[in-house]
């Protein structure tokens, strides 16, 4: 093991992690107080990091505008509206009518449009999946998707028919039995992976904060 300043960061990260972790297992006032204090500090640091991140975002787009790279007008627009929103928010607060208007009539519609785009993207991806990976799993994936769609979405005609009710029953059986069982298996694997990843950071084997 080489010596260096990273040992200090690693010791701080490991010590803090252990204190927070122990606070979950031992209901001692000292540990619980320390855990809450450290988490509050983490939230403050995350807010400060967001400011740095936004500065980084501006730097990236400022570079693009300065170098007239491909798509620089979009970067210029981003910088302009970023600064306008920031100044309005700082001067008049987040509840100011114009800031709310920007959020309601720009941010929300754009996000809603992306959700709509997702529906189209997924339909295309379904076809692409069948053309690219023609195996049993992919066929089962697309087949199950169709059954669930037919059993969930309203039918223009025959909504009360026995065929529709049969699809609804099959959909319920697939989602409540097969999908739930599969999801639990996947969640078990994800939980185990998340624990080992966290422990590697706690043991300072992985040091995302650098050396």
């Amino acid at each position: 093991m080489k010596l260096g300043p990273y040992l200090v960061w690693a010791a701080v990260a490991t010590g803090t992690g252990i204190l927070v972790l122990l606070g979950y297992f031992f209901q001692l006032d000292v540990l619980i107080g320390l855990r809450l204090l450290l988490i509050q500090w983490a939230v403050l640091l995350a807010a400060a990091a967001l400011m740095l991140g936004l500065f980084n975002l501006l730097s990236v787009h400022w570079n693009k505008v300065s170098l007239q790279q491909h798509g620089w007008p979009y970067s210029a627009m981003l910088i302009l509206f970023f600064l306008v929103t920031l100044v309005l928010g700082l001067l008049f607060g987040p509840d100011y009518e114009v800031v709310l208007l920007l959020f309601r009539y720009v941010q929300v519609p754009v996000e809603a449009s992306l959700m709509a785009l997702l529906a189209i993207s997924l339909a295309v991806a379904g076809f692409r999946l069948l053309s690219r990976r023609r195996d049993l799993v992919s066929l089962a994936f697309v087949g199950t998707t169709l059954i669930v769609l037919l059993g969930t979405a309203p039918w223009p005609i025959g909504g009360e028919s026995s065929v529709y009710l049969a699809f609804s029953d099959v959909r319920a059986w697939v989602s409540q039995v097969w999908a739930a069982a599969g999801a639990r298996g996947i969640l078990l694997g994800v939980a185990l992976g998340a624990i080992t990843t966290g422990l590697r950071v706690l043991l300072a084997s992985d040091r995302p904060y650098g050396d």
Partner: protein, 249 residues
Amino acid sequence: MTAIDLVGLVILILFLVSMLVYASLGERWKVVFRPLSGLDALDEAIERAVEDGSRVHVSLGTGSVIGSDSAPALAGLAMLSKIAAKTSMSDKPVVATAADGAMALLAQDTLRTAYDEAGASGRYEPISGRLLAPSPFSYAAALPGMLATEDVSVHLMSGSYGAEGGLAADFGERKQALVMAGTDDVQSQALLYATAQYPLIGEEVFATGAYLDIGRMHRASLRTQDLVRFLIVAAILLGTIARTVGLWP
């Protein structure tokens, strides 16, 4: 301390001891990997990107560092360090993006360390680890522009995603990049299965470090996961049998 706390602590100690024991065994007990097509194709794609002057992009998702969903992004950061070393001599080194300020800072630190270790400190640019946008859908909206401007040919996603993950993978596909994607959320995994060329299902996103040979602790983690999984499955089966025959009320 309640009984459930005690069980949790015992399981955690089991994890720790197992990881340390497996790590100390090291190469004396070879790890056998099952083939994962995405990770098999990744090496070749990275080499191709270095040769043709295109860029590798690592997306760390839309989760935050202090959230409970940071684990896949931490796995992504480990992968980023390895890829940064591999692409350090390329005209266009790897770029990493996140939707969280702290995650972007971690990406910068990871890249700086990787370049230092590769003896290419001069290649490090702070904007190669960046906050793309501060919310999930604005992150997805900003991706196509970034993929086009940076000439990305390998699009790796390892982080927490919601529905925007499907779009993020699809944008990579439209750019005809190699898209490998994994996340912790089950519903998002279904989206990624449909949209990504190489989806990582379940714990596969956490196994990338071991497959990319990042270090012995990554291999030890994989073995520990297998060990604990077998123990849990055995406990479930024994519990079911005991309950069925009336041994456990």
